[in-house]
Symmetry: C2
DNA sequence: CCACACAGTATTGTCTACAAACCTGTAGTC
DNA sequence: GACTACAGGTTTGTAGACAATACTGTGTGG
């Protein structure tokens, strides 16, 4: 997820990865305060490195930074969740369009190798790896599409999706089922662009359907709303 | 453009704004090296502030940072340009969809006030203001849509579009004509979502059509390609 | 005369120390 | 008894200095 970030500072990407995984695994709940010095001690690095890691995570929508206040695990709203998935459907359709427009003969083996890793992680119950690889599959597609821009946008979207899934998922299923990814690879191998795009759309619909985006039980997004309610009256 | 960035450090946003405007006005050409100390002296701030400004600009695709090498004004490829406009059409359609789904009675005056500013800037030949307000119109729509996520994504897209327009525009016209924005406001006022979305799409098509995205005359994107050519043979 | 290696210079990356802002708890006053 | 003002402590923001890395120019060997 963050391992492919360019830069001499390898540890910074590692810190992002660890924090991101902790959020995706629900070990860090939304709203949790992330003190810089505390993180610096945990990761045994200087505060400066923590600061730039937090800045990256803020850019990906995983943490919210309030000036002079500190960093907190972000709390995506239901509307944001819908927007993210809405946009993802278009972006990933474009990714597949670009992917199939390329030569792309050598891509299938790489995709299947990735899928195999996913299956192995699921088989041995390695949740961390499963989450990481699940998002990584979509990023691999974007990478193979050859568009740096789409890769960047999708990185952002996948990152946000991880947080959204952690907050709103209604059962303990993983982000994306490997079966869906397998079907996706088959569609791509057939080089039928409209059909592959449709498969992707169904896959994302499927992921979105596993979320509780209908309830108003947003988990303490705002203290005021959580205690008083939207109307402003004490309930 | 960058003026609404949250944060105690107001100057950082100002630096981003100045650099962005210089790029959009073609005062800074793609590939230009941006030395930190030099910028620090120009803006009379510390190098640390420059670094974080450059990091923000890199996130918006305006500059490219090479580790241990420095920051350079980015050089968007033609394919990236197409991707950006392709994505913009979907994002801005979504913005309008969300905007009209809201109550949005008080929005029209704000949009018209903004349009008036645009016209005034154009009338007095203030290119800086015209560029700033032209992008700002689209950001205002996103802001009025009420979606922080869409606003963020669109900020990124508008930013990249500015650079793309600066590189590839085939005449001296501004980014967006105010007339198009006027038609857009009328469509929105009528609360006919499909029609307003179509108007937006036409507007973006219009902007894209003013770019030279067919030529292979990418202005020195890569020194090797610029001097030797894609085939690798001396021409 | 050309190619390679080396050293000097300049620029970036990182760390540590200081200053400013915010929150919490306490004392004073109406 | 409750509200306001103030002080202490904690946390973030900023600046400056040091170390690492990459580029440029010169010298030497073939």
């Amino acid at each position: 997820m963050y391992s492919d970030i360019e830069g001499a500072a390898k540890p910074a990407a590692e810190i992002c990865e660890r924090i991101w995984l902790s959020i995706a695994e629900r070990r860090l709940r939304p709203g949790t305060r992330l003190k810089e010095e505390q993180l610096a001690e945990i990761f045994a690095v200087s505060r400066a490195r923590i600061r730039q890691a937090l800045a990256v995570l803020e850019g990906d929508g995983l943490v919210t930074i309030l000036p002079n206040r500190g960093a907190f695990v972000a709390e995506p709203s239901i509307e944001e969740a819908r927007d993210v998935f809405h946009v993802r459907k278009f972006i990933e359709a474009r990714v597949i369009e670009r992917l199939l427009a390329r030569t792309g003969e050598a891509d299938i083996p790489r995709l299947e190798a990735h899928l195999e890793e996913e299956r192995a992680a699921n088989a041995r119950g390695d949740t961390s790896a499963a989450i990481r690889l699940s998002g990584g599959f979509h990023l691999l597609l974007a990478e193979l599409s050859g568009s740096d821009f789409l890769l960047r946008v999708l990185h952002d979207l996948v990152s946000r999706s991880s947080l959204i899934t952690a907050v709103y998922r209604n059962r303990d299923g993983h982000n994306c089922g490997p079966d869906d990814h397998g079907a996706l690879i088959r569609s791509i191998a057939e080089k039928d662009s409209p059909r592959a795009q449709a498969t992707m759309r169904e896959h994302l619909d499927h992921v979105e359907a596993e979320l509780d985006l209908d309830t108003d039980l947003v988990p303490a997004a705002d203290l005021r709303q959580a205690l008083i309610g939207p109307t402003g009256m004490i309930q």
